[in-house]
Subunit: 224 residues, 2 copies
Amino acid sequence: MSAGEGSQTEQRLLDAAVGLFASQGFTATSVRQVCDRAEANIAAVNYHFGSKMGLYNAAIDHARTRAVDQNRFVQLDSNRDFWSDEPPQTRLRMFVSMLLDHSLDASGRPSDLARIFIHEMLDPTEAFDRQVDVSISRVFDALCDICRLVAADAGQGNMPVASIARIAFLISAQCMYPALTAGVVRVLHPAIEFDVSGREAIADAISSSAVAALTRGSDEAPDC
Amino acid sequence: MSAGEGSQTEQRLLDAAVGLFASQGFTATSVRQVCDRAEANIAAVNYHFGSKMGLYNAAIDHARTRAVDQNRFVQLDSNRDFWSDEPPQTRLRMFVSMLLDHSLDASGRPSDLARIFIHEMLDPTEAFDRQVDVSISRVFDALCDICRLVAADAGQGNMPVASIARIAFLISAQCMYPALTAGVVRVLHPAIEFDVSGREAIADAISSSAVAALTRGSDEAPDC
DNA sequence: TTGACATTCAAACGATTGATTGAAATGATC
DNA sequence: GATCATTTCAATCAATCGTTTGAATGTCAA
């Protein structure tokens, strides 16, 4: 066997599994499908990963590792330190960009990891609780923190927690929705682009409208 | 047999199928699951609907019919006439409310029809093309039309098509995202509510920020 | 070359899949 | 009550599911 990490078939199985689980979900994906795409024997799954669920968990970790390597994933700890000097609005803008990079891969297509998450939210498996902890929950809390800072920075420090949470929720909605619809939008309305430049325009629109909502009073219109 | 529409077991099968297809998707749902929940014999599916795919299509139509009966579904033709006298901003606000009502049912839970759509976007079946035509495409075009009217009404008639489309896309993102995440949000962050009153606050936030984006220039900040 | 270990392979396991069968049950009409 | 079409039912079909087995193959040290 190889000295490094995992055999070649193990890597091929993981790559194939990530793609199939992303589009079809856990139950609708068969181990034979994965093995066919990976050009591996059927018994390889249970040999390397113990079971189909073992492969599923390993595939999720594999997708997350790939995303981190490509700097596409929200790394809370390092970023929190890295950003702490920036003004709140800048941090919000960068956080939005990171969320967008999490839902779309480098070529503007829906990312595998985000699509697996969507399947889990529709029909959770036993792997979901771990995902919520390490990703969804902490990311959303961090987004709420930044939104609170933006509001406080604009003299809206007494904005209700529910309003902050609602705005943060709508921000994440705009950032994660492309992971679900980019494929359809690409065909249906090509004017909307998800490449790097198009993504910047989207990030600008999201963060600027969020700043406007956090800056003005709870329900007041911005009377100038 | 009965005079009206469909037998009793046919209705029970449809109700059970809608719920199961909504959470698990087409492939991951078995006809035995549906029949167990509907308390019907296994052969009932093929007798009443010809095949599993026939049941799937009938279930989608059933869900749409139920949604229309509850006034939760976007009825473009009738609404277009009904609204034609309202000012653009009012029409946008009402359209946002309709989209929200489409993604959430009366009790604030993700709607079955929207969840089926999400499955179709992740992993399309042969039923998807029809769905795109009758729902997604026409709804999005109508939303773009309203956005264009709002922009023109504010003297931004020359706003690029891509900008209009991007804003409309972000509006639909904020309206449809609850269909995917309401279940998780309910547990993770109860401060965000999806009942009728909470939905009004969300609709206000979405439409007001959209109006702001459509009213101000392409990338200009609203210098007062 | 030998032995020990890691990996791959064809074959098969019982269970479940969507679909089909023919008989039994049901209900309406005469 | 007899006749007919409609609906339900248990049983079963071939195919596929996740998993397991034991033999064959590859790899490296002794």
